[in-house]
Amino acid sequence: MKDEKSKMLKIMNELVRFYLKSGNHSVRIALDLTDHEGIVSLEGCCTKIDEKKLEDLNDILNSPRKDEAEEYYWNLVGSNDFSEIHLLGSLVNEGEVKYDGNVLKMRVKRYF
C-alpha cells in the first residue's frame, strides 16, 4: 500500500490533464480507494476530439502493467507540463474510454 494513494493522485492528475489538453475545462472526478484497488472515474464534455487519440489511449490503459518502469518513473506522471500518457499504461491494470460525440467518460482501475 506504500505510495498507492500518491500514485492514484498522480494517475488522476494525468487524466485530468488529458481532458484539459483536449479543450475541456469542466471535468467531474470520482476517486474510490479500497484495500485492494483504486478506481478513477472522469466525465466531461468534449466537442472536438480526435478519435484515434482515444483509441490509442484505450490501448495504453489496457496494456500490461510494467512493474520495472513503475517504481522508477511513477513520480513523472501527472507532475509537470508534459504528457505521460504512455507511462500511465505502466501504472494501471485496465481502463475504459467512452465518447459519444459530446461526453467523454473514462474509468481506470489499478490493483494494489
Binding site: 510494467k66 518502469a69 513503475e70 517504481e71 522508477y72 513520480n75 507540463d81 504512455h86 507511462l87
Partner: protein, 424 residues
C-alpha cells in the same frame, strides 16, 4: 538462433531474450580472440582488484580480452537476473544491459556491482515488493560501483576490512538509491535519460564529502588505451550492422516506418520496443552504434574501454529514447564547443562528453536541433566541473551533469515558449 521465431513480426519474449543474450555472449567470447586464457584470468583479477574510479580503462588495467569477458559476463548476468525477475525484454532493460556492458570496460566488474544490486534487492524485500519493480534502479545504480572498489582496495585499509567495508557501503547505496532515484526524476522532468546518473552523482557527492572529511581522497584517473585496433573496429562494426539487418527478419514493416521512431521526442519514458516493436528498435540501436563509431574516428579518437562504453550506452538507449535525430544535435553542440573553446574534440574526455551528452537527446527531440546544440554547449561547459564533486565515484558523470543541464534549460525554454502544446 531460431529462424522460425525470427520470421514472426511480433517476436516472443523468449526470442528477444535470446537475441540480446547472443550479443552479450559474443562480447564475452570475443575476448578470447584478443588474449589467451591465462592472460584473461590475470587481467580479470587486476580489473576486480582495481579501485575502478573514473576514468579507469580496463584495457590498460587488465587487457582487452579480460575487459570484453568482464563486459559480456556482466551483461549475461544482468539478463539472467532480469529473466528470473520475470521482467520483459523492453527498452529500459535493454538500455540497462548495454549500459552495464559498456561500463564494464571502464569501471564495473563482477566484484563491485553485486553488493549494490544486493542492497536494492534488500530494499525490495523490506518493502515486501518483488525485485522486478526495482531492477532498473539496481542495474543503473551500479554507476556507484567504484565506491565499493575504492573503499575495498583504494584507501589502503587492511584487505579483509576493506572488502567488508566496501561491500557494506555497496549494500547501503543499494538501500538508498530506490527512493532517491524516484524522487530526483522530477528535478529534470524526464529530460535527462540517465536519471540514475544524476541520483548517483548526488549520492557519490555525499559519500565523497564524508570520505574527504575523514581524510581519505581519491587518486587521479589512469591512462587510456590509445592504439588503433582494427579487430575491435571490425567486431563492433559487425555487431551493429547485424542489428540493422535483424530488422529485416524481425519486422515486416517497410523501412519508412523508421520515421515513427525518429518522430518521438525521446523524453523519459519512451520505450521503443513497446511503441515500435523489437525489430525497428534493434535497427535504431545498430544505426546509433555506427554513428558512435564514425564519430570517434572522425574526430581522431580510438576505440578503448571508455569510448566503447560510450558507444554501448548510446546503442542501449537506442531502445529507450535516443535516435539519430535527437542525439546528433547534442553531440554537435559538444563537438563545436570542444573545437572552439576546448582542447579539441579528439581527446578521450571530449569524445566521452559527446557520446554521453546524448542523455540530453530529449531536449533536441522536444524543442528542436538549436536547443540540442545549446544543450551540448552547456553540457560540455559543466561536465569538467562535476567529477571532482563525487571524486570519480559515480561512473555516470555525464548523467550527473545532464541532470543540471536539463533542470536549467527546460524551465527557461518553457518560460519563453508560446503556450501551445507539449503533446497531450
Amino acid at each position: 538462433m531460431d529462424p522460425i521465431i525470427l520470421k514472426s513480426a511480433q517476436l516472443s519474449e523468449r526470442a528477444k531474450y535470446r537475441i540480446i543474450s547472443l550479443y552479450s555472449f559474443s562480447v564475452a567470447f570475443a575476448g578470447f580472440f584478443f588474449n589467451p586464457p591465462e592472460e584473461i584470468a590475470s587481467g580479470l583479477w587486476s580489473i576486480m582488484t582495481s579501485p575502478s574510479i573514473l576514468l579507469s580503462d580496463y584495457f590498460i588495467i587488465g587487457n582487452i580480452g579480460a575487459s570484453l569477458l568482464n563486459s559480456g559476463l556482466l551483461m549475461l548476468l544482468a539478463i539472467f537476473v532480469a529473466s528470473r525477475s520475470k521482467s520483459l525484454m523492453n527498452g529500459p532493460i535493454i538500455a540497462a544491459v548495454f549500459t552495464i556492458g559498456g561500463f564494464a570496460l571502464f569501471g564495473k566488474n563482477l566484484y563491485n556491482t553485486l553488493s549494490i544490486v544486493l542492497g536494492v534487492y534488500l530494499h525490495s524485500r523490506m518493502n515486501k515488493d518483488h525485485f522486478g519493480k526495482y531492477i532498473i534502479i539496481a542495474y543503473f545504480g551500479t554507476a556507484l560501483a567504484p565506491l565499493v572498489s575504492q573503499v575495498s582496495f583504494g584507501f589502503g585499509l587492511p584487505p579483509l576490512i576493506g572488502v567488508l567495508a566496501g561491500n557494506l557501503f555497496g549494500i547501503g547505496i543499494g538501500l538508498l538509491l530506490p527512493p532517491l532515484a524516484s524522487s530526483f526524476v522530477r528535478f529534470h522532468q524526464g529530460f535527462n535519460l540517465y536519471n540514475v546518473g544524476f541520483t548517483a552523482g548526488i549520492t557519490g557527492m555525499l559519500f565523497m564529502s564524508i570520505f574527504r572529511t575523514l581524510g581519505y581522497d581519491n587518486k587521479g584517473p589512469s591512462g587510456t588505451y590509445q592504439e588503433f585496433n582494427p579487430f575491435l573496429l571490425g567486431f563492433f562494426s559487425l555487431m551493429f550492422i547485424s542489428m540493422i539487418f535483424i530488422k529485416y527478419r524481425a519486422s515486416d514493416k517497410p523501412i519508412g516506418y523508421y520515421k515513427s521512431i525518429l518522430s518521438h521526442p525521446g523524453r523519459l519514458v519512451t520505450d521503443f520496443v513497446s511503441l515500435n516493436g523489437f525489430g525497428f528498435t534493434l535497427f535504431n540501436m545498430g544505426i546509433l552504434g555506427l554513428v558512435g563509431i564514425i564519430y570517434v574516428y572522425a574526430v581522431g579518437g580510438v576505440l578503448n574501454g571508455p569510448t566503447i562504453g560510450g558507444i554501448f550506452t548510446l546503442v542501449g538507449f537506442g531502445a529507450f529514447g535516443k535516435h539519430p535525430r535527437n542525439s546528433i544535435p547534442v553531440m554537435a553542440g559538444v563537438f563545436l564547443t570542444a573545437l572552439v573553446f576546448g582542447d579539441g574534440p579528439g581527446s578521450t574526455g571530449a569524445i566521452l562528453a559527446a557520446l554521453f551528452s546524448t542523455a540530453l537527446a530529449p531536449i533536441a527531440g522536444q524543442y528542436g536541433p538549436i536547443a540540442g546544440l545549446v544543450a551540448g554547449f552547456i553540457h560540455m561547459s559543466i561536465v569538467s566541473n562535476t567529477a571532482y564533486l563525487h571524486g570519480g565515484m559515480n561512473l555516470y558523470n555525464n548523467g550527473f551533469t545532464a541532470g543540471f543541464v536539463a533542470a536549467i534549460l527546460v524551465p527557461v525554454i518553457e518560460a519563453y515558449r508560446k503556450e501551445n502544446e507539449n503533446e497531450g
